[in-house]
């Protein structure tokens, strides 16, 4: 018996070797509203995926379920070979408890539309708090890494400032540094430029572009910046009415697709910009 078990475990791990996140027929409804109607999606380590689509198409819900901020109504999400929302107990599959969720979501980081910085901490403390209190890193090394990360996003001179003293673009860069010091394998970006003044969008996109070029981390971006998606993403996914309506390389999706809904969406989008 034990032999069989270990064999089957091995099999799943080799199966998932080139997949870091896998959605298997994931559905989500809020009351009577079916936001996602069966999503199947595999994301490779280091892959950069852009999710586009009209508002209400479920793009944000997809990444919020991966961050465990929203529970799927059906289906499975596998992160690095581990089932996110279910665990095994006495040989049965049961809903995950907090301990299991914490174990699995440690690999995932997220940047929010509204930054969600901690207002009672300096920006350095914002970055240091999770490594110290969650990963139990010692204070000095957490401090050192946080400073490095803040320097990398161009905020090395603001360490002792509070979030209320920063511009929107600076806040969003702090939020990225804060997520990055946790060394996630998958980073989620939830419309990170939507709440910014137009002149501040560039500085944030630039940081994301640098991250994308560095490579190692998988990134899922929910975005309205089509040119940016075209530039950075390895794959673009067009969501419409809760299903993946089109996917492919950026140029396939954004320039050469004949999907009617996608054309409508892009047309509306380009004429409004």
């Amino acid at each position: 018996m034990p032999e069989v078990k270990s064999e089957s475990l091995q099999e799943t791990s080799t199966n998932n070797e080139d997949v870091i996140v896998s959605y298997k027929d994931v559905k989500k409804s809020f009351g009577d509203v079916h936001v996602l109607k069966g999503i199947n999606l595999d994301i490779k380590p280091a892959e950069k995926v852009a999710l586009i689509g009209p508002s209400g198409s479920g793009k944000t819900t997809i990444i919020r379920m991966l961050m465990t901020l929203e529970e799927p109504s059906a289906g499975e999400i596998i992160v690095d070979g581990k089932n996110l929302w279910h665990m095994e107990k006495n040989g049965k599959k049961v809903p995950a408890n907090e301990k299991h969720l914490r174990e699995v979501r440690g690999d995932i980081g997220m940047v929010f539309q509204h930054f969600n910085l901690f207002p009672h901490m300096t920006i350095l403390e914002n970055c240091m708090t999770a490594p110290i209190h969650v990963q139990k890193e010692d204070k000095e090394s957490a401090r050192k890494r946080s400073i490095e990360m803040l320097e990398k996003v161009g905020l090395g001179d603001k360490l002792e400032n509070y979030p209320s003293q920063l511009s929107g673009g600076q806040k969003q860069r702090v939020a990225m540094a804060r997520a990055l010091v946790m060394r996630p394998k998958v980073m989620l970006f939830d419309e990170v430029t939507s709440a910014l003044d137009p002149e501040l969008v560039g500085e944030v996109l630039e940081v994301i572009r640098d991250l994308a070029e560095e490579g190692e981390m998988a990134m899922i971006l929910v975005t309205h910046e089509m040119d940016f998606a075209l530039d950075v993403a390895d794959r673009v996914i067009f969501l419409d009415e809760g299903v993946i309506a089109e996917e492919g390389t950026p140029s396939e999706v954004l320039e050469h697709s004949d999907n009617e809904r996608l054309q409508q969406f892009l047309h509306r989008f380009r004429s409004s910009n």
Binding site: M67, T68, L69, E98, R102, R105, G106, I108, G109, M110, F112, H114, F115, N116, L117, F118, P119, H120, T122, T129, A130, H133, V134, E160, N161, Y162, S164, Q165, R178, A179, M182
Partner: protein, 236 residues
């Protein structure tokens, strides 16, 4: 009726002031009780088990809509006659329980408003950073939830101070009871009761001003902290 007599005033003063210790210590004891029980209410209200929450809401509503005086009388005179669980409480304990539990329902609301004032995004961010439930509360939520409640909690301390004379009805000898005693002995109530009023005024008014100041300070706490840190940085 006779006129105001200063010698009665000075005669009564030392006697009435003797009760100040009792009045103040009872205030703090009731307040502490309210702070703790209020925390228990808030904690139970956040539990996922719904029936318990409903029962609790009903109990809180019941406590809040009954006058504290009635509750005091019930605890002091009624409770000893209840079969099985009936116990006779001494006046001080009775006042702490009666007033403390009554005000705990308001204090619980204050806690709740403080917790609700923390933006939903703060919970999501701490979850995204994988904080444990305990650390989420101690490092992220409470440091933001508590400061805005401090002025309200301070107000309740003053209100509590002014409600404590109710305890004289169950025999706690504070300043009001002593003034009353003095009046009964000397057939003069005007001066001792004036002393009581002055003592309350002298203690509550400055506290109210202090709390007002605290409120202003809390409203700009993040800017202030930032300015402080900056100036410290400039010095060092």
């Amino acid at each position: 009726m006779s006129k105001w007599q200063w010698d009665t005033f000075f005669d009564a003063f030392p006697m009435v002031v003797q009760g100040l210790g009792i009045t103040i210590s009872l205030t703090f004891a009731c307040y502490l009780c309210a702070l703790i029980v209020g925390f228990v209410w808030t904690f139970i209200r956040r539990m996922k088990f719904k029936p318990l929450r409903w029962i609790l809401l009903w109990i809180m509503e019941f406590i809040r809509s009954t006058p504290p005086l009635v509750q005091l009388f019930f605890l002091y005179f009624g409770l000893p006659m209840v079969p099985v669980i009936g116990v006779a409480l001494d006046p001080f304990t009775c006042a702490i329980l009666g007033l403390g539990v009554h005000y705990s329902t308001y204090i619980g609301e204050v806690y709740r408003s403080g917790i609700d004032s923390v933006d939903k995004g703060q919970w999501e961010a701490s979850q995204a950073l994988n904080f444990s439930t305990g650390k989420k509360w101690t490092k992220i939520i409470l440091p933001q939830a508590i400061p805005p409640t401090i002025p309200m909690l301070g107000n309740y301390l003053i209100i509590m101070f002014k409600e404590v004379p109710l305890a004289s009805t169950v025999g706690v000898v504070g300043i009001l009871q002593l003034a009353n005693n003095y009046g009964a002995q000397h057939f003069r109530y005007l001066e001792p009761l004036t002393i009581v009023a002055i003592l309350f005024l002298v203690l509550s008014y400055p506290s109210a001003i202090l709390i007002k100041k605290l409120e202003v300070k809390m409203n700009r706490r993040f800017d202030k902290k930032a300015v402080l840190k900056e100036s410290k940085g400039a010095v060092s």
